[in-house]
Amino acid sequence: MKIFTGDAADINLESFPDLYDQYVRKIFNFIYYKTHHKETAEDLTSQTFLKALKNLSQFNQKKGHFSTWLYQIARNQVIDFYRSKKNDINIEDIWDLAGNEDIPRDFDTAHRLEKVESYLKKLRPDQREIVLLRVWEGLSYKEIAKIVDKDEAQCRVVFSRTIKTIKDEMPLAVFLSLLLFFH
């Protein structure tokens, strides 16, 4: 598979199937972390790539990296999906709705997230995105910077401060259980 650098010459209709191969799993994960529901994530991944394909001529390399553009489309698809369902302009993703029973969520995922959900929900969407991309996806700050359209240093700072915030706001009981559980 050809690896794309994001150079303007690489991004065209001819190369789109290869771009798809390179990004489909990453975009799916990105969306899944925001929806917790595989069918919804598949649907929004499809819409993301179809939209990217149809608007490829509008992609302007001077304004950013291809992955930044693609992740922005995915982010907007998720926002549009939940806002259209709840008619509420403040909803960004499932984290703003967790606990709402009429929104589908995969049972296993909801169960796994029980312990961390309370403090991840309190984060701003951009903070949560950086934390999850760093910890769950294992991405470097360079890669995260392209996705969230910030510079690397900003991403490092946001990540460190978010982790510190979680630690500071963590209830004492959870604090102790973590210490006991991991030591």
Partner: protein
């Protein structure tokens, strides 16, 4: 993972060194986050299906882009806009689009046994065989009226069709060819495998029709025709040694032949008979490169083997002067074998199937190119025949193409058949709701013929691993004239 956690923590300390004193807690927090990571394993079937959809959408966009570009050029260069000029550009755009599609192999999985029952149209059970039999019976009646005789004991009809003219002249010897398997043990392997069916989105023909519908031909108002689609199209190059292009949008195929009005009358025969295979293949390669015909899903060019046997047969014939020049050394065909998921495709006679380039060796020019298709398929899993004894029995009966043993033969020639390889067999599926058939590519065993005879043109025997295998008694022979008819 440990390394990753360590790196995460070090990055945090770089920003806020005071947090190092809380390492135990931070470590616990990161580990808890990691253990909460959802299982986001993507479904590979979804990945493949979406890719297929995107490739289809991309083709539509390329078509529109190409058509728009040509239309833009047409107006910007202030050409006189006539129906014919516009049509030429539309065809060019379409041709380029077909080539683009031809380069991308896309397979959408349709589920298990999604194509219904598969019937292999072998020589023994197809409609053309039955029609040929009927035609031959009519021929028999006509010949009887004119005083000729047809051997009364010879069964009539032959699977290749050809109507009443397909009557073999009285042979000096009635020879039976008997296929004998000597390839040793073999196994079919897994009892499940995929069948492929070529698909057609139909988008090109609708878009072309919408453009053509806006033209004023001064004969008829095309706007009045509703829901138009372009089914077929032909265009010719108006130059010396020009070609004609024929596009069938229903089947997404394209063929090229000489524009006979622009080629000189051919008189020379046999001038280039000593050309090597490499020289012949080079002519075909250059033609494909010159016309941008994509052969990404095809193997290297090979000179067609049947040609050699036809030449051998022509040279050994007692009446070479009546042999068609197409069976002499003046013409050659180069096949670029089609490959789907690593498996080579064969036709029912056992020849490799793919893009076929015809070359006139005297002119050293390509005269035809056909089987240029798109590469968009559906696949479906089917259960295979794995009974080796049954398969060998079918091979010895001639395989898909059949073999008839004349009851009054004066000579028997054993043709040895070697160990098989897996491949895909091209067959057709008829659908009563459509005016044309679909191409199916069915898992098959290809048995090479290891001994040759100048009268036997076959190079291999094909055995489909799906569908009913007909018995030897079902195979119909070519009708024979009797000695008194000579």
């Amino acid at each position: 993972m440990e390394k990753n956690i360590k790196q995460i923590l070090e990055d945090i300390y770089l920003i806020d060194p005071n947090l190092k004193s809380k390492e135990a807690l931070l470590l616990g927090l990161i580990q808890e986050l990691l253990s909460a990571r959802p299982d986001s394993q993507i479904n590979e079937e979804f990945v493949n299906n979406l890719k297929l959809k995107l490739i289809t959408e991309r083709s539509k966009l390329i078509e529109l882009k190409s058509i728009n570009k040509n239309m833009f050029n047409l107006f910007s260069k202030k050409f006189i806009f006539t129906g014919a000029a516009a049509l030429s550009l539309v065809i060019l755009a379409t041709f380029l689009t077909l080539q683009d599609r031809g380069g991308q192999l896309a397979i959408k999985y349709a589920g298990k046994e999604a194509f219904g029952a598969i019937v292999i149209n072998s020589s023994s059970n197809n409609e053309s065989a039955k029609n040929a039999l009927a035609d031959s019976n009519q021929a028999s009646s006509l010949l009887a009226e004119t005083g000729s005789e047809i051997a009364p004991t010879a069964p009539l009809g032959f699977g290749g069709g050809g109507g009443s003219s397909m009557i073999a002249p009285y042979p000096y010897e009635i020879t039976n060819y008997k296929y004998v398997y000597n390839g040793g043990d073999f196994e079919v392997g897994s009892d499940q495998s995929d069948v492929y069916r070529r698909t057609n989105s139909g988008s090109v023909s609708s878009q072309l029709a919408s453009i053509i519908g806006k033209m004023n031909l001064n004969m008829v108002d095309l706007n009045k025709f509703k829901d138009m689609k372009v089914n077929t199209m032909e265009i010719a190059e108006d130059r010396e040694y020009g070609y004609s292009l024929y596009v069938d949008f229903r089947q997404n195929t394209l063929s090229i032949s000489t524009n006979w009005e622009k080629w000189p009358t051919r008189e020379s025969v046999g001038q280039a008979s000593e050309m090597s295979d490499q020289e012949i293949i080079a002519i075909a390669d250059n033609f494909l490169a010159d016309y941008g015909i994509n052969i990404k899903n095809y193997g290297q060019g090979e000179v067609q083997e049947t040609q050699r046997y036809a030449i051998m047969k022509a040279e050994s014939s007692s009446a070479p002067d009546i042999v068609s020049p197409y069976y002499t050394r003046d013409y050659a065909n180069v096949i670029y074998p089609m490959v789907i998921n690593g498996e080579q495709v064969y036709d029912q006679s056992g020849q490799k199937y793919g893009i076929n380039i015809g070359i006139d060796l005297a002119y050293k020019r390509v005269t035809s190119a056909y089987n240029i298709n798109t590469s968009i398929f559906e696949s479906s899993t089917y259960t295979l025949e794995t009974d080796v004894n049954k398969i060998i029995k079918f091979v010895e009966a001639g395989g898909t193409y059949g073999n008839y043993l004349y009851p009054d033969a004066t000579k028997t020639v054993n043709i040895e058949v070697g160990k098989p390889e897996r491949g895909l067999l091209l067959t057709w599926q008829w659908d009563s709701t459509k005016p044309y058939s679909s191409e199916l590519f069915v898992p098959a065993l290809i048995f090479p013929i290891t001994s040759q005879d100048s009268q036997n043109y076959r190079t291999s025997i094909t055995v489909p691993l799906i569908g009913e295998m007909p018995g030897q008694n079902d195979i119909l022979p070519m009708p024979l004239e009797t000695k008194s008819a000579q």
